[in-house]
Amino acid sequence: MSGGTYTPRPGAAPVGRMIAAQTVLETRMLLRNGEQLLLTVIIPSLLLVLFSSVDIVDTGSGPAVDFLAPGVLALAVMSTAFTGQAIATGFERRYGVLKRLGASPLPRWALMTAKTLSVLVTEVLQVLLLAAIALGLGWSPHGNPLAVLLLLVAGTAAFSGLGLLMAGTLRAEATLAAANLVFLLLLVGGGVIVPLEKFPEGARAALELLPIAALSEGLREVLRDGAGLPVAQLGVLAVWAVLGLGAAARFFRWE
């Protein structure tokens, strides 16, 4: 073969290198997006600071920050794995990014792996930041870090499934609107800043089945009350994860 500039020399990069590159790009896109940062960083931080220092909501006995920190951590997971991922993926679909990557050597499973890794990287940054703020506000966490980790992973899986389901089935604009609305509703009704005890008995039983409530209550049982493994909440999250990821795998449209 001649040695022209464009002489064909096709070949895929090793899959590990592709996933690493894709993860870096996805994370960079996320951190560069102002609206995303508002959801994932600014709102959780503000809520934590505001409600810890001003006595607006009755959070029960003990320092407010001990109630709020677990709720805000749950909110952070939801903002990244659900809201952020749904909106970003919805627009990637709309702008043909998913389609174009589909013609590259990057396999779909590798793209989804990179998206998950990017969500996890973002969550680590969020948890570090929010934990630092909470500690500065006098937070004293308890419990087994492993149980916390397990809850965060189960919550991420549950929210990712729902976010991807939304992104892969609705129009991008509808995803944008719906993901923000759901974020707001779950922020209020999911035990993040308002204790579920404030709701009527019947409503409370239903709300407890929401993934955000399971995650925030589960984290609270461990981090505030020093409980062992919150099996009921983990179970709720696992069911959401199976249903959400299963439906996303079934109904996701790439174009």
């Binding site: 022209g4 064909p8 096709p10 592709m18 702008y95 990014v97 174009r100 050597p105 174009e255």
Partner: protein, 325 residues
């Protein structure tokens, strides 16, 4: 001229490279969307090392055909082989070997031009030098510009760069010069010629006749989901006997008498008073016959023009439709 499915595939000794190996082979492709049939029994061959232009009006089935070759669509009937592979079943093996330029989009709205191209390069084992490619396509000034702030032409060139960066054997370009200014268009043509010279095969769709005439070794005219005709631009324009001779003179010439002097199959018409058109095999002999007939009748024929058939004429004859939007 080669009429698919009825005639023997013709093998023309035109290119230095090749063993006439098919890089794309489509047979009886049918693709429906609901009740609408987008592609209706289409045959297409692309020979290695050539540029093949798929020409047709909007809705003719160009994009559907190309996207089926790229593995995006599953045929409802017929077979598609690209580099000898099934684009859907063998997607993992095929994708590293082809370069794809979509009609639009394909880039993260928050990404910078250079960043996106560098990322695509990382997905391949032996990518082109990104900086050189950026320079080559005149994207040097917008490497740090976000995709949304690029002009339409810059977005097109970035998309083209993304298609070639992985050093593919075969390129699929869906309307690569739509929305480009004439200068950028010529630069894109030049790159496609360089790619061809280095042995890359290209399939491109276009609305533009001049693009097909300038670039293509082979043209397939698609209409109503079928290939109406496939051949080299020369073959298509030479085919039939449809060249035209125009002249002006005194109004009301007796064209019946003129036609008697001309070979069978020639037609003559007075388009507007004093403006004449003769269609048929316009050869030197015919030109002499017409001018001497005029001399005998005391007519000074002015503005004599012999027009070759263009791809647009071919297209009009085949489909009765305008090619341009």
């Amino acid at each position: 001229m080669r009429i698919p499915r009825t005639a023997e595939p013709e093998r023309l000794p035109r290119l230095p490279v090749m063993r006439y190996e098919s890089v794309v082979q489509v047979r009886g492709l049918v693709k429906r969307y609901g009740s609408k049939t987008a592609v209706d029994g289409l045959d297409l061959d692309v020979r290695a090392g050539t540029v093949t232009a798929v020409l047709g009006p909007n809705g003719a089935g160009k994009t559907t055909t190309v996207e089926t070759c790229e593995g995006y669509r599953r045929p409802d009937a017929g077979s598609v082989r690209v580099l000898g592979l099934d684009p859907v079943a063998d997607a993992a093996r095929l994708r590293p070997r082809i370069g794809v330029m979509l009609q639009s989009g394909g880039v993260y709205s928050g990404a910078r031009a250079g960043e996106m191209l560098r990322h695509m390069a990382k997905l391949y084992a032996h990518p082109l030098d990104v900086d050189a490619l950026v320079e080559r396509l005149g994207l040097g000034s917008c490497g740090r510009t976000g995709y949304r702030r690029l002009s339409g032409g810059q977005q097109q060139r970035l998309s083209l760069a993304m298609a070639v960066v992985g050093r593919p054997e075969l390129l699929f370009l869906d309307e690569p010069t739509a929305g480009l200014d004439p200068q950028a268009r010529r630069a894109t043509w030049e790159l496609i010629r360089e790619l061809r010279a280095d042995g890359v095969s290209t399939v491109l769709t276009t609305h533009f006749m001049d693009e097909a005439e300038q670039l293509a070794d082979e043209v397939a005219i698609i209409d109503g989901g079928r290939v109406a005709v496939q051949g080299t631009p020369e073959e298509l324009c030479r085919g039939g006997a449809e060249n035209t001779l125009r002249f002006t003179g005194r109004p009301g010439l007796d064209l019946g008498a003129l036609l008697k002097a001309l070979p069978d199959g020639t037609a003559a018409a007075e388009l507007t008073p004093g403006s004449y058109r003769i269609t048929g095999t316009v050869d030197p002999e015919l030109l002499v016959t017409v001018t001497s007939w005029c001399a005998q009748h005391g007519v000074l024929a002015e503005g004599i023009a012999v027009e070759r058939r263009t791809l647009e004429d071919v297209f009009l004859e085949l489909t009765g439709k305008e090619l341009r939007r």
